[in-house]
Symmetry: C2
Subunit: 346 residues, 2 copies
């Protein structure tokens, strides 16, 4: 853009198109990806001028905080940039829903995570196991974190979080914190030489990026444990091949080699789970399952069987349902048997 | 009850009445408390029989997990107890909304926290600062937790979390995690010899109990930092004098000596905060402020002034609004000045 200005041209920026029309499943890398369609944003086009100005404001604020060596939240970014433009009654931004998409434009245009632009997303999730991390000069031993575990931050990029020492052999990603706590209390990670990670529902970006790094850098197999319901299977698919919203980041947020350890509707018979802890599928679930049957990433035969079986059986199952077999059933029977027999879905 | 059975009487249990009619503000202890009205639950009263049975089931499951030395979540408790009663089509519990109130009955009847019954509530919140904790044999140094901080668990009772070593002089409780992260990055806790704690919105029980313990056991002054809006002031009031729902636990969850450090609507003028980062009060806010003006615990004059000022000014303010004055304004100017001049609301 500086070159354009030097040449006295009207400045413009080229941005990848982030709408559904430019998003596809890449079968080679097994990731949801963004295509190569681009659009231009022109300063001298009245329909673009405001967004152009907003893009420049966000970009320059990012440069400022990077130069200062500080990080901030996307909400703070919005407040830091919000002001009334001199001699007008026009605000730079009216709400955070103006500045958030601009940031995603920049992330996709620069092929950078917002964490690399020193911006933080919401964080959630915890990890425990025999790994030592370095963060801002502190060494964190995830095997000595009591009942809490290590709280996964938003920014887990290699310049922030370093894997200092590891003796875990695989990573188990768990949908629910209550189950994580059960496994932590039973020292499952110690007995099975693994890391236990929970995203507390749909994992935040930090958690997905961490799983990606554990797999790509430390070569850890990744197993995902969720409820047996459409939402749980969706969580798994986002961990595995990324999401449509963040398709431009799939290569850093997705882990295509992840495997699904459970729960499945088949577990009800395999593990003799009493029928009264299953939950009847509602209409929304039925509809969602039918949609998922058609998703390209659920085409492998074992998933087709599972989805059809669930649809036919008419029930779903939460992880807590295993408690009907005893509080430690999940850590002493269910998971060890699944792992021993490699009873995974692809 | 065992004695009643020995005497061949119909068994019954006495429970505190937990409805609004039995809840009051205790001006001496400055806490929301439960009165001494009780009710009886009889096994031989058909209107009570199911609830009586449920109470016994929950109580015996608690005894079982305590005997086993394990803990579990309230959701797992529900699943562990849910079954169809033999020779009937009746379930012990139909949903978790059946078992949760039974647990609160037991907590209030026994005057015990659920954590003491080995049950865990949802956890959230983080802490950093110069304190060392012991948890399950691990020593956790909250001054060496990188960008994450220590994740506050649900159970922070003295037999689980021990205060091993402390050199912090006060505790700052922050509504928002983004602000906590700002202060952690700026090592505010180091420069000001304090603990920084966030509850991520309304603090969970574990976080409130921790604040209570820091104050009562370590004699730390507690300052609370929230948005300047009715929700922020409500968060403060719950930290300070407890809540109606958990009135039977106020003496362990409330911290009546807590002080309010900000934000206030007065800060807008005191700290020259630009008007375009304030937010117009909506009708719900206006109504809520009027209600709060009448709450007995907002009767102290400075609160009456603040609430009336906000109502009149017609705007509220989020913590992030301070970013309009610079990203480090909150840690380098705002909070230090508030603390130096003891500019608190009671």
């Amino acid at each position: 853009m500086i070159r354009q200005l030097d040449r006295k041209e009207s400045p413009s920026i080229t941005l990848p198109v982030r709408s559904l029309s430019n998003i596809y499943f890449d079968p080679e890398h097994r990731l949801i990806k963004i295509g190569d369609k681009t659009s231009n944003r022109y300063y001298m086009n009245v329909a673009h001028t405001k967004k152009f100005m907003q893009t420049m404001l966000v970009a320059s604020e990012c440069k400022k905080i990077i130069d200062q060596g500080v990080t901030t939240s996307i909400r703070d970014l919005y407040y830091a940039l919000k002001h009334t433009i001199e001699d007008t009654r026009e605000n730079t931004f009216d709400s955070q829903s103006d500045s958030d998409p601009i940031l995603e434009d920049l992330e996709s245009a620069l092929n950078l995570l917002r964490e690399e632009l020193h911006l933080k997303a919401d964080r959630k999730g915890y990890m425990a196991g025999a790994i030592k991390l370095e963060d801002s000069g502190d060494t964190i031993n995830c095997a000595r974190m009591g009942s809490s575990g290590w709280a996964i931050p938003s920014d887990v990029e290699p310049d922030r979080i370093k894997f200092a020492e590891n003796s875990a052999e695989f990573a188990l990603v768990i949908e629910k914190d209550a189950v994580w706590q059960r496994l932590n209390e039973d020292r499952f990670w110690k007995n099975h030489r693994c890391l236990i990670i929970t995203g507390k529902g749909q994992p935040a970006r930090g958690c997905r990026r961490l799983v990606n790094r554990l797999h790509t850098e430390l070569k850890m197999p990744v197993y995902v444990l969720t409820d047996a319901d459409p939402w749980g299977y969706y969580i798994y698919s986002v961990i595995k091949q990324g999401s449509i919203n963040l398709s431009f980041l799939s290569d850093r947020l997705g882990t295509p080699d992840a495997k699904f350890i459970g729960l499945t509707s088949k577990d009800v018979t395999d593990y003799h789970i009493p029928m009264n802890v299953t939950i009847k599928l509602n209409k929304g679930d039925q509809k969602r399952i039918k949609e998922m049957i058609n998703y390209i990433w659920f085409k492998p035969k074992p998933w087709q069987q599972e989805l059809k079986r669930m649809h036919k059986a008419g029930y779903k199952l939460e992880l807590e349902a295993l408690s009907a077999k005893g509080i430690r059933f999940i850590s002493e029977k269910y998971l060890p048997q699944k792992i021993r027999t490699s009873d995974f879905l692809p």
